[in-house]
């Protein structure tokens, strides 16, 4: 049975998540102790800033000992954590594993980092020798499902952070950013992130410095652009397509007249003004100049929210894709169960037995009822005698940690 025990941003505040985190360097030790103390045949620990979860497989239900381990390892009492913990088993655990990998359970829906974090967690478990065929298949299938969800739906497509929204808007206005120019007024962190992305897309950058030109020069060098003093605002603005303003100035830095002058010089080609400063740098009236698109911080946030709503709508199609993939995984799991294997083994043997009787009958001609009975009894006897020991052994094995490997082997040997 597959089990997931843990807590996430949905059930626990940050301080609880921090307290229960497994640092990278304790991972090997934690995995070893976990398997020993809770009876897990396979185990993996996912520990990120938004979730701490233990994934495992055991012959029987082990959610309780796993939860106890989680508390004990961090010197906590389980009843303190009780309200934050979830324990999932069987299909619910599988679904959870798929949804986490596909970023459907993330704080920022569709964010791409989680898949990498899950990947690392599985790798750590593999190195610690805690991964078997079931969790390994869970890893492969859930990753494939996550990639499908990402390419077949728009769940990760539209930007949800302010600086990425700025870049995305620039692309919606100018299409390709190659050979476009971006002007940074002031050298803040957020403008830098957005500008870096635009430069990576092929844009050229220029930075206007405030009181000291030094910081502007550093940033310009990092962006492969040039620096200029703030006095050059009008002439610089006439040469660019995007302006990102984020100075710490108390008053306005870019006035409507500046923008009008620039637009006249640029023959009213589209100009994208991004004001990420608080208080604002760009006069709101500047947005009314022809072919000018002005976005302030609130506007960018409002687009980010719209994008997030868009992602939520896409989540439904992503869930549908996961449903398919989860069904595939569960079917595979079922094929590894002992009982269906026994049924199949027996019906396969019976099939062979009947086919051989038919063949023999064609050669022997019609048989008397007594002969018919004797043949039936003899062949059944052979099949039963051959299948008896493996049947008994397999039933015993059903509670063994490694029965899935044996089941797989027997399927292969008998061509089932």
């Amino acid at each position: 049975m597959i089990v997931v025990v843990g807590l996430s941003h949905q059930t626990a505040p940050l301080e609880v998540r921090e307290a229960l985190a497994f640092p990278q360097e304790t991972m090997a030790e934690a995995l070893a102790r976990l398997r020993e103390e809770s009876g897990l045949a396979e185990a993996m620990i996912l520990s990120t800033c938004n979730r701490v979860e233990i994934y495992g497989r055991a012959p029987e239900s082990v959610a309780e000992p796993v939860a106890e381990f989680l508390a004990r390892f961090h010197d906590r009492r389980l009843d303190e954590l009780e309200s934050h913990l979830y324990r999932l088993e069987g299909e619910r655990a599988v679904r959870h594993a798929f949804r986490v990998a596909a970023s459907l359970d993330s704080m920022v829906l569709g964010e791409p980092q989680i898949l990498g974090q899950v990947k690392k967690a599985y790798e750590a478990a593999e190195e610690a020798g805690a991964l078997g065929s079931v969790l390994n298949t869970l890893r492969n299938r859930s990753f494939a499902a996550a990639k499908r969800a990402r390419t077949e739906t728009a769940i990760g497509r539209n930007a949800v952070s302010v600086s990425h929204v700025a870049v995305e808007l620039a692309r919606k206005i100018f299409g390709d950013l190659r050979d476009r120019s971006v002007l940074l007024v002031g050298a803040g962190k957020m403008s830098e992130v957005a500008a870096r992305q635009m430069v990576r897309d092929g844009a050229r950058a220029a930075v206007l410095g405030g009181r000291t030109l030094e910081r502007a020069e550093q940033l310009a060098a990092a962006l492969g652009g040039r620096a200029a003093p703030l006095e050059a605002l009008r002439s610089e603005m006439a040469r660019v397509d995007v302006v990102i303003s984020g100075t710490g100035a108390p008053g306005l830095v870019v006035h409507r007249e500046d923008v009008e002058a620039a637009q006249a010089a640029r023959r009213h080609r589209p100009l994208f003004l991004i004001d990420i400063a608080v208080p604002r740098d760009i006069e709101p009236e500047a947005g009314k100049v022809k072919s000018v698109f002005l976005y302030d911080l609130d506007d960018l946030r409002s687009v980010a929210e719209a994008n997030l709503r868009e992602r939520r709508k896409e989540a439904a199609s992503a869930e549908a894709i996961l449903d398919q993939e989860i069904r595939g995984f569960l079917e595979w799991r079922e094929s590894l169960d002992v009982v269906p294997l026994l049924v199949e083994l027996r019906s396969r043997a019976d099939e062979i037995r009947r086919a051989e009787i038919d063949k023999a009958r064609r050669r022997l001609g019609p048989l008397t009822p007594e002969q018919e009975k004797a043949v039936e009894a003899m062949t059944s006897g052979i099949v039963n005698k051959i299948l008896h020991p493996p049947t008994v052994e397999l039933k015993k094995m059903a509670s063994n940690r490694h029965h899935t490997e044996y089941v797989g082997l027997i399927r292969k040997l008998f061509g089932l």
Partner: protein, 271 residues
């Protein structure tokens, strides 16, 4: 098979495409899927069969009267749409192309063929003139669509709280570029169509200009496009104004086409 059967089959497949695009814009998936494109190609194949069959039935190039005119214009529109889609991958074009083609073929299906044996319809003027004209219309239709998409996308960007069209329409720059190229192409075809129209007039009436209203309409549309193209190249007029001019020019062109096909007797020199 009768050309009517082919035309009806074409209508069915275009309807599938049109419904699919509209459903997809509401459910926000990718606008065009393999299903849409396949049904378009099938519809187009039947449509081509319908045209060639109709050519044999009518005994002249099938571009006369409402039925044949609408059908032929739809055929050219679908062809132009497919070409533009293959080269640019702008699927938002389908939002207009499918309903437009569907309505035209629907009208064609309902109208009776106008079979009037007429010596005017023989010879090369009819096919050459109409082929030039419909490809011109097709390209100008693309320019019209890109103009509308541009204005919608601009509104979305100014709203600061984008709705569904923000996500399906390409960037302003792309709408503007594709619209601009289509205008030039369409204008070229339109010019040639008008010139052959005058020539046709000459060979029939001995005059280039008969003063017919559709000649004036054609000239007006042509003039709008001259202004548009000149403004684009000399004054750097792009974006919003170019979008509006592209829309206005196409509306006048539609008027000319409607005039030429709906008013009885005027088949000649329709640009």
């Amino acid at each position: 098979m009768d050309s009517r059967v082919y035309l009806f089959l074409a209508l069915i497949f275009y309807a599938v495409g049109a419904v699919h695009v509209l459903v997809h814009v509401l459910t926000r998936r990718r606008l065009l899927t393999t299903l849409t494109v396949t049904s378009t190609l099938l519809g187009f194949a039947f449509h081509t069969a319908a045209l060639s069959q109709r050519w044999t039935e009518a005994g002249h190039f099938p571009a006369v009267g409402l039925r044949d005119g609408a059908s032929f214009l739809a055929w050219a529109t679908v062809l132009v749409f497919l070409l533009v889609y293959v080269t640019t991958k702008v699927d938002a074009l389908g939002l207009f192309a499918y309903p437009f083609a569907f309505v035209l073929v629907f009208v064609a299906n309902l109208s009776p063929p106008s079979d009037r044996p007429d010596s005017v319809l023989q010879g090369l003027y009819l096919p050459v003139h109409t082929v030039l004209a419909v490809f011109g219309y097709g390209a100008l239709f693309v320019a019209f669509t890109m103009g509308v998409l541009y204005l919608v996308q601009e509104r979305e960007l100014r709203s600061r709280s984008p709705q569904r069209f923000y996500y399906v329409i390409p960037s302003l720059e792309r709408c503007d570029t594709i619209g601009g190229r289509s205008v030039i192409l369409g204008f070229g075809f339109l010019t040639l169509a008008i010139l052959t129209g005058f020539h046709w007039n000459m060979s029939l009436n001995g005059r280039y200009w008969t003063g017919d209203p559709k000649e004036w309409a054609a000239l007006a549309a042509w003039a709008i496009y001259v202004v548009l193209i000149a403004a684009r190249f000399r004054a750097g007029w792009g974006g919003r104004r170019a979008a509006w001019l592209g829309i206005a020019g196409f509306l006048i062109v539609v008027f000319t086409f409607a005039w030429a096909t709906l008013v009885p007797g005027v088949v000649v020199a329709a640009p």
